[in-house]
Amino acid sequence: MNDKRKQLIVSAIQNGTVIDHIPAKSVFQVVRILGLDNTEKQVYFGVNLESKKYGTKGIIKISDHWFASEEINKIALVAPSATLIEIRDYEVTSKSSVQIPEHIEGIVKCFNPNCITNKEDVSTRFTVIRDEHDELKLACHYCEKNTSRDNLMFI
């Protein structure tokens, strides 16, 4: 694909945000985490698109919306490779990648059913760690158990 056509696809919205390089299987999770299933804004998404780097990928475009970094970084857990492109008047005004936050508060449930956060009205707090296989895990501030990506449940 040449640069012109690439530019065209990305710029298909006049103003807003494009989230690119989402793992194809994570697109719907990203939609949910960012609350895009409940928005009044125009949202386009594609799955199983070709990607040189990843084989297949997903993409989401949201018109007239720009994200604060702590909001967008929530998706790093399911789409650590995602890139964020901001569009103003059909022009790309900034490009960045999502950052995996060090701490996560209140987005994800602790997988341990006997954790205080699942028993009383206590909001969750995690530290993001990497295990010996370089997998991302969430260490619960309260019960000290690690929630892995397979067990992720969003609040």
Binding site: I116, K119, E120, D131, Y142, E144, K145
Partner: protein
């Protein structure tokens, strides 16, 4: 350590651990003092644990402090559905420090965040039991003369045994070599092994208890609990895997001591009890001195 809650053993640095052990040795010399006169300690046992509760209450009363609280959730307002936060806030009005045991993981950390007075965790679910850990460390130091560089074997349920997790984590501060003996289903969780790896210490895993006995300074036995197994057949398979008897200690090191957090079921045969290498009953007594040290230091009296 003044006014600082003790929730997890990792809340204490190496120096803080050593300070508590020094204080405990002082209390062992002189366990009855008037140090806590006029102080009120709340002892909240949301689940019963007679052993731990009596050890704490004896520790406090020998120092002249008074104890208020409850021995199980049945008789308290908790049964009426009061939240943990409300119970803690109410009790903190009447006490200088709260000792709590609770069946939910992470309850003690949460309590320490809402409580205006310091919390001492006497066990939160399957998570932490730091005062048990400190009394284990005290017993190891007392019997071996040092904490540094020991060969420590852990035997039995290494997956769910919270005393094992805390003690392994604490011993990574003292360059231990770890010998981990368990059935494959009950191996030490990777979240705990991570501490050993990060400290760049050696660890070895075994399934046969006999293999490890000649090579360790401390043999830390644990109980394999039936309720840990969803399938009763799995429990039947492993329940008798690790029964220590006196004969098996024949080739052990002369300085070896056998520890156990008690109560035991059949992991240690009664014929071991009279062997001078058996230390589990003295270990329990050390709990009183260590708990005196913890309470006195948090209240800023030592």
């Amino acid at each position: 350590m003044k006014n600082k809650s003790l929730v997890s053993i990792s809340d204490y640095s190496r120096e803080e651990i050593l300070r508590i052990l020094e204080l405990a040795a002082e209390f062992e010399q002189q366990p009855r003092q008037d140090l806590l006169k006029g102080k009120v300690v709340a002892s909240l046992f949301f689940e019963p644990s007679t052993r731990t509760r009596l050890s704490f209450e004896s520790a406090i009363q020998q120092l002249g402090g008074s104890v208020i609280g409850f021995a199980s959730a049945d008789t308290s307002s908790v049964r009426k559905g009061e939240s943990l936060k409300d119970t803690i806030l109410t009790v903190s009005n009447y006490s200088d420090l709260i000792v709590m045991r609770h069946p939910v993981d992470g309850s003690a950390r949460y309590a320490s965040e809402v409580s205006p007075v310091p919390i001492v965790n006497a066990g939160d679910g399957a998570n932490q039991h730091p005062t048990q850990c400190l009394l284990d460390l005290y017993s190891i130091k007392k019997t071996q003369g040092r904490l540094e560089g020991l060969d420590v074997a852990f035997v039995g349920d290494l997956k769910y045994g919270r005393t094992v997790h805390s003690l392994v984590i604490a011993l990574t501060q003292f360059n231990a070599r770890f010998h981990l003996v368990s059935p494959p289903e009950l191996k030490l969780p990777s979240a705990v092994k991570r501490y050993i790896k990060e400290a760049k210490l050696e660890y070895y895993q075994y399934t046969d208890l006999n293999e490890v006995i000649p090579n360790c300074d401390i043999l830390y036995m644990t109980r394999i609990q039936r309720e840990r197994f969803p399938d009763p057949l799995d429990y039947e398979k492993v329940k008798n895997s690790y029964n220590l008897n006196n004969q098996m200690l024949a080739n052990s090191r002369p300085n070896l001591k056998v520890l156990h957090p008690l109560p035991r079921v059949n992991e240690i045969n009664v014929d071991v009890d009279s062997n001078p290498k058996a230390y589990y009953f003295e270990q329990a007594l050390n709990g009183v001195y260590v708990r005196q040290a913890i309470v006195a230091s948090i209240l800023g009296l030592k």
